[in-house]
Symmetry: C2
Subunit: 309 residues, 2 copies
Amino acid sequence: MAIVIIRQDDKIDVWKQALLNRSPNLKVYSYLEEHPKEEITMALIWKHPIGSLAQYPNLKCIASAGAGVDYIFDDPDAPQHVPITRVIDPFLASDMSEHVLALILAEIKNFNTYRVQQASQEWKPKNYKRIKDITVGIMGLGELGSLTALDLKKVGFSVQGWSKTKKDLKDVSTFSGKEGLKPFLSSSQILVCLLPLTPETEGILNKELFLQLPKGAYIINVARGGHLVDHDLIAALDNNLLSGASLDVYHQEPLPVSHPFWNHPKIFMTPHYASVSDTNSVVPQIIENYERLQIGTVLLNQVDRIKRY
Amino acid sequence: MAIVIIRQDDKIDVWKQALLNRSPNLKVYSYLEEHPKEEITMALIWKHPIGSLAQYPNLKCIASAGAGVDYIFDDPDAPQHVPITRVIDPFLASDMSEHVLALILAEIKNFNTYRVQQASQEWKPKNYKRIKDITVGIMGLGELGSLTALDLKKVGFSVQGWSKTKKDLKDVSTFSGKEGLKPFLSSSQILVCLLPLTPETEGILNKELFLQLPKGAYIINVARGGHLVDHDLIAALDNNLLSGASLDVYHQEPLPVSHPFWNHPKIFMTPHYASVSDTNSVVPQIIENYERLQIGTVLLNQVDRIKRY
């Protein structure tokens, strides 16, 4: 039994070290080094090269090093019957919640406008909005969406949530399914997308949806680039249907320099860094699952291959 | 008895109307129209022209339409023995608190950096900080400073406060006086200035103070431009003693276009609009004091001419 780490960024060594710090006798390899393929039972991955998972005949668990797993379903060569797990990092949800709160406050206090004005030495006060007067709609009430909704509520926002299947959240009005979308959207002055990316949610942030929001609504996409129809967003901003957008995720990352988002005065961009897995807080879950594999018991945070989350 | 409104912006009519809406029989004049000087007992002012208060022989109250009164002490011709009142607007404090929270979050989530990067199409993720790991120091624990401190504490920041004389605030460590300044500064990663502007606090945000902060501290000045020594701030930013600053107030407003703050990549500017008096929520206090003048009883929110706040 051994673990292979597969990812294309520069963090393989950080993860390897974090695993070994916690469990020094573990056999852990980088997929870039020489390693015994048939010994590998767990692949700890993040945006692996397509096809790279196919080379392990005894793989028992594909462990995503993040909350998202959509990239695994995008790999046609990924083994079809190996359990997939994801990571539920307590900080992953609270980091996301803090990021979303920061984005919403920046918008209602006009920081996005003032940044643009500062660049051209314009002194033009604009009336701000108050927390108590804002209704935030959260799409997606999984770990991240639920905590974000509850935290925003605590700070004083009116909060409502929408999810595929009905969820109950304290002090948060919740809507669900296709029939719940319209009433949910019609009162969401700020719309936050925290949905999983599935065939059903791909392109959900499109013209038709924007038209159901209150005029001048603000969009925050911190889920996946695939949720958004880019040219629909630009059109909706340019004809003032929407007042602005904050984006953390994109169809292609890093976003190509030629993409119109970069220079759009109503778009604020962050480089897919709203919430990143903290190696140290996540490693215990990986090791726990690795031990569960050995005794053959049920894995933590296993992904439903049908629901894809 | 009558009220005169003296201010140099375009809001005289808004205030006049708000007073009359509440109390239709009031005699209210704009200082720009013909009006009987000897009838005036209350001047409702905001940044009046120097000398303009000297022309009312029967003035009984100088009512500042904002929380600040420093501009009244800057007028050598303002009557010396007429009581000064200021406005305690419940929204004034909560608006300030929301603005400060928004600024702090924007900074710890690197929005200021990302804004600069977006302008040059740079994709460069930077580790964010978490609320729980940040200690905010609030200078000035009056109405605005106290509420801001308590609200930041509620959101999860470590908060400490400093004031001229000792104040107690629930769950907030407080420091006071000259001897309290050093320990307060040495642990304030983010320093928020909410002091009144007095001869003692003028220029308090200077090189000497910056040197006592943790390296890489962040400065937020939402009090008065006169608290800050502009060139000391620029020097401290340029040699990385401080990591950045958010400013809402300036020595001259609007800030002249030639001022180096406008183009400084580490300075985020807002146009003195963190918290503005809401006419409707403040007018009842003005009218209450006007009625108290008539029966000769003690005024609400009277300013101490020695302390100047």
